[in-house]
Symmetry: C2
Subunit: 432 residues, 2 copies
Amino acid sequence: MSANQASVKQDQVNEYLINLGQQAKAASFILATLSAKQKNHLLQTISQSLAEHAEVILAANAKDVIAAKANGLTDAMIDRLMLDEGRLAGIIGDIDNVIALADPIGKEAASQLLDNGLRLTQRSVPLGVVGVIYEARPNVTVDIAVLALKTGNAVILRGGKETIESNKVLSEVIRGALTSLNLPEGAVQLIDSPERAIVSGLLRLDKYVDMIIPRGGHTLQRLCAEQSSIPVILGGIGICHLLVDKSADLSRAIDVIANAKVQRPTVCNALDTLLVDQAIASDFVPKIAAHLHSLGVRFYACDQAQGYLEGLGFDVSAADDESFSTEWLSLTLGIKVVDNIDGAISHIRQYSSGHSEAILTDDIHAASYFMNQVDSAAVYVNASTRFTDGSQFGLGAEVAVSTQKLHARGPMALDALTTYKWLAWGDYTSRK
Amino acid sequence: MSANQASVKQDQVNEYLINLGQQAKAASFILATLSAKQKNHLLQTISQSLAEHAEVILAANAKDVIAAKANGLTDAMIDRLMLDEGRLAGIIGDIDNVIALADPIGKEAASQLLDNGLRLTQRSVPLGVVGVIYEARPNVTVDIAVLALKTGNAVILRGGKETIESNKVLSEVIRGALTSLNLPEGAVQLIDSPERAIVSGLLRLDKYVDMIIPRGGHTLQRLCAEQSSIPVILGGIGICHLLVDKSADLSRAIDVIANAKVQRPTVCNALDTLLVDQAIASDFVPKIAAHLHSLGVRFYACDQAQGYLEGLGFDVSAADDESFSTEWLSLTLGIKVVDNIDGAISHIRQYSSGHSEAILTDDIHAASYFMNQVDSAAVYVNASTRFTDGSQFGLGAEVAVSTQKLHARGPMALDALTTYKWLAWGDYTSRK
């Protein structure tokens, strides 16, 4: 491709995106004025329409599955993108759950009469237009569109290219529901081109898009952090730690650690590094490792822990900076012996992604100290790290899990899709 | 400079910034554990120390003033950076106001017992490290450092190079106060090099810095939006509109408009574009323009408004896309005649920076419609746009005025320097 062709292509991408952004922004002004009842009626209509279009949705998904097999995707990836009647019913059922949630939009904080004579309040309003870049999971297409519409936001969706056929049909069904209610179909827009330049362009569309949520791995998160001129909610990367304090009930600790590591190792709140107080390490490290080994876990251990694991009859890799910086997403676990609780906190501050950390202890002072000193989105005492999600936290929905500190931290629910505006009433009032 | 020299220099800049970031981050962990009483004692110590060092502070400032004159800065700029005994006393007095504010850190939301057995709460905590890039105003150095410390945050300051001597002394006095209380001086750090590469480097220091606040004009805001990999709070740019509705009390409207435009034209909440309903325009436009002209205001008017202003004896420029997109910061005003309230809302959606907009009207339906449809940080009915600031809104402090929608919108006070973490207590609890 010549430089000239590239620039023509870039112009086309820009034109496409500006059109997308303008339609989304225009739609967002209309969505912002809908009542809770109107929005719930819209979600109900979407739910019904998805059920009515089950056949065409599953047929489109079958095309994605065939392409995925032809392209040699792993069984796990294919399983994640595959829909059947049961899964589709689950997706539709989740819409009912969202309908049942309270609408956070339109609430006003208690107003106050200011000394300058104005009456001032804050009203919660939609963000406007939300851009979401996500993995090859068609359920996310429906999930995010529904959460955005529930909060009066327009949404621009860019799902994994491996689910393009499913996403096209799903978004068309949702847009059809909007149209049937005389609402703008621009409220839900799917980027259906796999062109990577479109992602870069989307990240610069700050005139029209108010927030970007990247749901995906480290590369996507960094791309968004570095290239986006739109505020980004980073998240979903969990390098999670659990400290076994010297005062922990070791017999009860074993099940919690196994739960954190093994129950669902492919998710962000699964345990990555086990920290063990050296006072109990020589006894506990072999015990927990033997148990986890029997459950299929592999290990990267520090020198001291490696010493404790010799002769147990399985290989242990040497932990280093790189392994301690890895989110495993698999049955792999780092083990490190620490001098004391401060050693654990230092390790966490250096290597944690700020997602979830836990301490197991029977010492109330250690528990309190750990909670105060560890600065992550979720900090646990005597619990598995696996609880960090919107459903477990009782939020009723989850847009993403934020690991940054602005706007929303940890599991993000409907509130995270809102902002507020200040409203002030005067009587032809001037500032003194 | 050769490429090789440039890369050596970049290495030095990076090393300098990483050291700065590490010190700030380490300090932030200590600040985060201070009680309100300890933080107020720190602020008291800073206040006293600034008073004790008045002579050396004013001497340093005098150097900045001499350099500013030599460099041909305008009188207005010199006035902004100049300190005298009275102004320094004012800066010190403001610290007492901040001491009197409630500490937002450490509050926990009502906890709940989850179905999974965990007890869950949200605790408000400092952001960590805040980077602030600001104009040549030495009062901001003290102001921002004090607000950051009050909320347990470390801060990296990068003030205008024209105030470098003042800022060096002010930051050293503050660091001395920290040291005298055995607190880490790394909590307040001044970037004292005018090197532009340092700003670009600071914007990439996401490993250590949690938030960037640019306080400055359009160029700085865009630089931060485009280059920063750290979350940025954009703000302080106000292209503000006021609509004179057809039902407005026109005799009372004149004073409010004059207040919005003339009272302090150099600030972000001053009026930039006056929108006038065409039903009253032929009568009102000449009247308001004559009054504002007598106060020194110049005009950029749309065709229709220009017609109404012919023969008044002063020149009127033709408004266009560019003039309507300009934040004047001076005694200049755009005037546009609009067909109706929807025409005004369309114009605002196209040209507003999302800061402050007002309607003057005696029609309750128009007032309500305007408040619902206009999506800016502050929306006024029958009041001047000049009220948008932390002090007027009763917040007791102002870090910045945000024009974006994430985290904080409009005047940002102490709360905007906080985040929260989720704390969960179990009893060796695993996820089902």
